[in-house]
């Protein structure tokens, strides 16, 4: 078993003159992530305290937490000391979030890297789809672009590095993998992850009641393979605003579909 990925003590790094990054380690590791979320939780409890005067927001990553502040309001050194003190506090594993069953059209134009990936790992495209559709993915954090979920859970057998040359344009709502991570690009963007499919479901709605993002940290998702015709039909529905998120959420007492 490899030693803990956490540094002996967290590092407090300046990200310019208006943000601190508290770094717990340098790898993707769930023990690190639990410490990041522990610090985020501690800050949440202090939200209105004078200790956080001028602090506007904090942004978790897999291994660090970045805290943005207004240097004309905040005593940055005192804030740094507070962060350092809080970072030694309780770790917090992700709570159980909602569960989603999201339709995805695999392969073809929707998933241009599927065949190549299947060849590289020595499986058929159908076997890769079956494997991915039988996996429960977990959302660890949102970042990069609005609503982009960093999800873990892909089997190491399908783990491949990023593309050597990133695409200039990844179509919006592409399902993509790299390493053992999985994500859906909510918006068109450049990107180096491998594209396996596309979902008709919009992942971000600024007007949504609860949260503008479909996924939240702790949520779990499985992908429900659909064919190209179903994709087109649902995509049209979604474009009209007729594809409500609730229909893809699994009831609390329901079990995952058997695969």
């Amino acid at each position: 078993m490899k030693p803990s990925a956490a540094y002996a003590a967290p590092r407090l790094l300046p990200l310019g003159d208006a943000a601190w990054t508290v770094e717990f380690g340098a790898s993707i590791d769930m023990t690190l992530h639990a410490r990041v979320m522990g610090l985020a939780g501690a800050l949440e409890e202090l939200r209105s305290s004078p200790d956080l005067l001028g602090v506007s927001e904090w942004v978790p990553s897999f291994r660090s937490l970045t805290v943005h502040f207004d240097p004309l309001l905040t005593d940055a050194d005192a804030l740094g000391a507070t962060l350092f003190r809080l970072s030694g506090g309780e770790v917090r594993t992700l709570g159980k979030g909602r569960r989603w069953l999201i339709p995805v059209c695999f392969g073809g134009d929707a998933g241009p890297d599927l065949d190549d990936m299947a060849t590289t790992v020595g499986l058929s495209a159908a076997e890769v789809i079956a494997c991915i559709a039988a996996t429960v993915f977990r959302v660890y954090l949102l970042g990069f672009m609005p609503g982009f979920p960093y999800m873990g859970g892909l089997t190491p057998e399908l783990s491949l590095p990023r593309l050597a040359t990133p695409r200039k344009v990844v179509p919006e709502r592409s399902l993509a993998v790299t390493g053992t991570m999985c994500a859906i690009y909510p918006w068109e963007s450049p990107g180096g992850w491998r594209l396996l499919g596309r979902t008709p479901v919009r992942l971000f709605d600024p007007g949504a009641q609860a949260s503008p993002a479909l996924f939240g940290p702790g949520d779990e998702a499985m992908w429900l393979p659909i064919d190209a015709d179903t994709f087109l039909r649902m995509d049209e529905q979604a474009a009209r605003g007729d594809l409500a998120w609730e229909q893809f959420q699994l009831a609390a007492d329901a079990s995952w579909p058997a695969r």
Partner: protein, 346 residues
């Protein structure tokens, strides 16, 4: 009474921007907001607004706007060819930073913008509903502003309370000038990913602005910055912010701006200080930049000084006659300039 401005020509990339969108970066939503928050403050002050109200950010080629309902007072901060075409056909060119009252049917036309960015604020504010706490446009996800995109012909900007249009015009004898010299940075957070030679190169050589630039960032080109061989050019993504300077494997720095992503996977050699962020808005392709490292204390002093300079600038606004009337602006300008020359000669 509420007025309206209609867009006759949207220009190259005119967007509604305010001080930015805070509190949503943990959902992946960028900060956005005016690239030059100081000039945004100048335009708003000329329009009689608090400094961080939503205004129009124009880039390279400006927009043309017509007052299509009631009178509208606009505040202009920028260096560009600007003229007002009155409803009766009279044309007046606008010199300097000032406010202008547009009566119904008058058109405010902005041509080529020197320095790449300029701001137009509207007295009473642009009456849009904030999305996720801000009116700033983030085009990639279609958030904020007018349908989350740049302005185009036919768009109508509702204007809030226009009572300020009755108070007469304001002007300033000079535009707000940013500090010159090297762009100031704080090293890190990943300066330990670079060789000692790269850290020297970064602070001693010149980088050129490439044509690859938008509100998300600017690609620079110059002496490649070498990563430590045992560390490489990839990190596990962590938080980034406008001003952060990422260096991918090719060693060419990328300067992040207001619409940058919330986390990034390239090592950041340094981060531009808050006081110098507005200067980045004015960088044009082909222009050379140099970087100097400063301490955090120096950065905060620079930010405080900039805030004070903006307050002083605002306190120097003076009332002036309507645009196209007696050219008080020119009179004031010439007096002030000759006064300065006299002072220097003494």
């Amino acid at each position: 009474m509420a007025g309206a401005l209609s867009v006759i020509d949207g220009g190259f990339a005119t967007t509604v921007q305010d001080a930015g969108r805070r509190g949503y970066r943990s959902l992946g939503v960028p900060l956005s907001g005016a690239l030059d928050s100081v000039w945004l403050g100048c335009a708003n002050s000329l329009a009689g607004n608090p400094p961080d109200r939503p205004a129009l950010e124009m880039r390279y080629t400006g927009a043309s706007l017509e007052a299509t309902r009631g009178s509208v007072c606009v505040g202009w901060a920028g260096d560009a060819d600007v003229r007002v075409v009155r409803a009766d056909g009279k044309e007046q060119s606008i010199s300097g930073w000032r406010s202008v009252v547009l009566d119904q049917g008058d058109i405010f036309e902005v041509g080529s913008i020197r320095g790449g960015v300029a701001y137009l604020a509207v007295s009473g504010g642009i009456a849009l509903l904030p999305q996720l706490g801000s009116c700033s446009t983030y085009a990639r996800a279609g958030i904020g502003g007018i349908e989350g995109r740049s302005l185009r012909r036919g768009d109508v900007l509702p204007v809030g309370d226009t009572s300020a249009t009755r108070r007469g015009d304001l002007m300033h004898a000079r535009g707000f000038e940013h500090a010159g010299g090297n762009i100031r940075v704080i090293l890190g957070p990943q300066e330990d990913y670079f060789t000692a030679a790269a850290l020297i190169d970064f602070r001693s050589s010149e980088y050129r602005v490439t044509r690859d630039l938008d509100r998300m960032g600017i690609r620079l080109s110059g002496q490649p910055l070498t990563h430590q061989p045992d560390k490489g050019a990839d990190i596990v993504s962590d938080g980034v912010t406008p001003g952060a300077i990422q260096v991918p494997a090719d060693g060419q720095p990328i300067l992040l701006l207001a619409d940058c992503q919330t986390v990034g996977g390239y090592p950041k050699i340094a981060t531009v200080i808050q006081a110098d962020l507005p200067r980045l808005a004015h960088l044009m392709p082909g222009q050379a930049v140099r970087f100097s490292a400063v301490t955090r204390q120096e950065a905060w002093l620079a930010l405080r000084a900039q805030r004070d300079a903006l307050s002083a600038w605002i306190s120097e606004l003076v009332a002036c006659g309507p645009a196209g009337g007696v050219d008080e602006a020119a009179l004031y300008n010439s007096n002030l300039i000759s006064g300065m020359i006299d002072a220097e000669a003494a």
